[in-house]
């Protein structure tokens, strides 16, 4: 770690550079406020930038996200720290906070990297690509994904063998292994928490066999397979490379289930599964897609029509609760389920099973305030004391919440929530002047 601590000041700190954080930052910057975005990942764009298409319009997700991300990156009033973490937030007086930020080394001089990927080609190391949800490999010298912002290489130092191949291949000589962690102490007037959500880890439900049976995947793994920047040339089973013909979706994996500690509905799983089913029928015209559900919650604008459209396309909907999934010798999977309409226990064989994993609260933010209490609700999302009148307000004066940090919601609702957070932050800043 470098000895010196750099000091700076901004009007608003936005924690999290996903779609909600980015939208809130843009609104504030367009109104003349100086904004700092702290993003723990190597690129802004959050989970949305990794999606294939959005429901119910089936618009290309990258086509919506990329111009927005580009606008955020190039805005003169927005500073972005990627690969960085907020360590501590101290409220100093009635209208200011002191924030300690740790910036992890990227081992690449960001301003000089051209994104040519020659370092990636030269690197001999291969590890699991977390941006493709471990379906394929990436190098230790890598650009996170094609539409990453910033499109700058990074070195995965834990897996790097320090062979120097990347440095030799780099035309602008921007790889710099002398970089160290940097500490910043930043004065801030207001904070927006946009730390998003975590996906449920299906390893917590051993009866589904995720991890044990290689042809059971998560919905994010299927999402990547359906995206234009997909890991394989087509949809394949990761267990043996077979093009699947019979696909099953298991809804409410990690949602509406008190036994795993998450009794609430994740609000997005029904619709993203229906979206994926429609996209699968386009990618694999002969495929037979079955969705096992408890209730289909198509509550938003155009959602019910989207659900009916999927049924019209031939997606099979079975109201059933999955008891157990077991693997057959040929890698196929046997689903044992209760058919709720017929009140019978049945079995069905599928080539691949997609677990529609739910939304879990990201609880990390509460610990950032040692002197104040950032209250959480009973499901560990950030509490909104007055959700009807001031939906972005939190238990700490001057700290606001945007997007799924306050609860499960879809992309349009996250953007609306970000609009609310930025408006409330602006109002707060004007009052405290």
């Amino acid at each position: 770690m470098q000895g010196q601590i750099e000091e700076a000041s901004y009007d608003v700190l936005v924690i999290g550079g996903g779609i909600a954080g980015g939208e809130a930052a843009l609104n504030l910057a367009n109104n003349g406020f100086k904004v700092l975005i702290i993003e723990k990942d190597l690129s802004i764009g959050g989970k949305m930038i990794l999606l294939s298409k959005v429901f119910p319009t089936l618009d290309c997700s990258a086509c919506i996200t990329t111009p927005k991300v580009s606008e955020i990156s190039r805005h003169p009033a927005i500073t972005i720290f990627t690969g960085s973490e907020v360590q501590k937030i101290i409220k100093k007086d009635y209208n200011s906070f002191e924030v300690e930020v740790l910036k992890n080394p990227r081992y690449v001089i960001e301003e000089e990297c051209t994104g040519c990927q020659l370092c990636e080609q030269a690197c001999p190391v291969i590890v699991k690509d977390e941006y493709q949800f471990n379906l394929v490999g990436r190098k230790a010298a890598f650009i996170p994904f094609t539409i990453a912002s910033p499109k700058v290489a990074a070195i995965d130092i834990e897996n790097c063998t320090l062979c120097g191949a990347c440095e030799k291949a780099c035309p602008p000589k921007c790889i710099d292994f002398t970089q160290e962690k940097e500490e910043y102490r930043i004065k801030i007037k207001s904070i927006i928490i946009a730390t998003g959500f975590k996906l449920f880890d299906p390893l917590m439900m051993p009866r589904y066999g995720f991890g044990l049976y290689k042809n059971i995947i998560t919905s994010m793994q299927m999402e990547r397979q359906l995206a234009p920047t997909r890991p394989f040339n087509t949809i394949l089973r990761p267990g043996d490379g077979k093009v699947p013909c019979k696909v099953a979706y298991v809804l409410c994996t990690g949602s509406r289930d008190a036994t795993i500690g998450n009794p609430i509905c994740s609000q997005i799983c029904c619709m993203y599964s229906i979206k994926q089913a429609q996209l699968l029928m386009g990618a694999l015209p002969m495929a037979d897609v079955t969705i096992y559900y408890l209730n289909i919650r198509s509550f938003g604008k155009g959602f019910e029509e989207f659900y009916e459209q999927a049924k019209g396309m031939g997606v099979n909907f079975v109201k059933g609760k999955i008891g157990k999934i077991s693997e057959l010798e040929n890698g196929n999977l046997m689903l044992r389920y209760e058919d709720i309409n017929e009140n019978k226990v049945k079995e069905a064989e599928h080539d691949i099973v997609v677990l529609s994993v739910g939304v879990i609260a990201n609880q990390d933010t509460a610990a950032l305030f040692p002197d104040e209490q950032l209250k959480l609700d009973s499901f560990n999302f950030i509490n909104q004391p007055d959700p009807l009148a001031t939906p972005a307000r939190t238990s700490i004066d001057g700290v606001f919440v945007a997007g799924t940090a306050s609860g499960p919601m879809d992309i349009p609702d996250s953007i609306l929530s970000a609009g609310s957070a930025s408006s409330e932050a602006m109002s707060y800043l004007i009052q405290k002047k």
Binding site: I126, P231, G241
Partner: protein, 92 residues
């Protein structure tokens, strides 16, 4: 220590030891890559055929083979008559 631009890896090598796991991972990948590429030099193969020759779990073959496709060493060939399994060939 004076650090020459373009050779900064030497600086970090002095300060930090590369983990045994990273070294083993590289060694294993190089072996698998060489074997897969040698096998594909002889003929186009499916994942099933590669699995038998490599004596590795099928899911690992998929992972390494798809990574070699991604990095431009291998390309996808024809699909079988049942439209189930692709064959893979060296990229020329």
């Amino acid at each position: 220590m004076e650090v020459e631009k373009g050779k900064t890896f030497k600086y970090l090598r002095e300060k930090r030891e590369v983990s045994q796991e990273a070294k083993d991972n590289l060694k294993r990948f190089n072996q698998i890559k060489k074997t897969i590429l040698d096998l594909l030099k002889e003929s186009d193969l499916t994942i099933e055929q590669l699995t038998q020759k490599l004596n590795m779990p099928k899911n690992e073959v998929v992972f390494y083979l798809m990574s070699l496709v991604k990095f431009g060493y291998v390309q996808t060939g024809a699909i079988d008559e049942m439209d189930e399994y692709f064959s893979y060939k060296l990229k020329k």
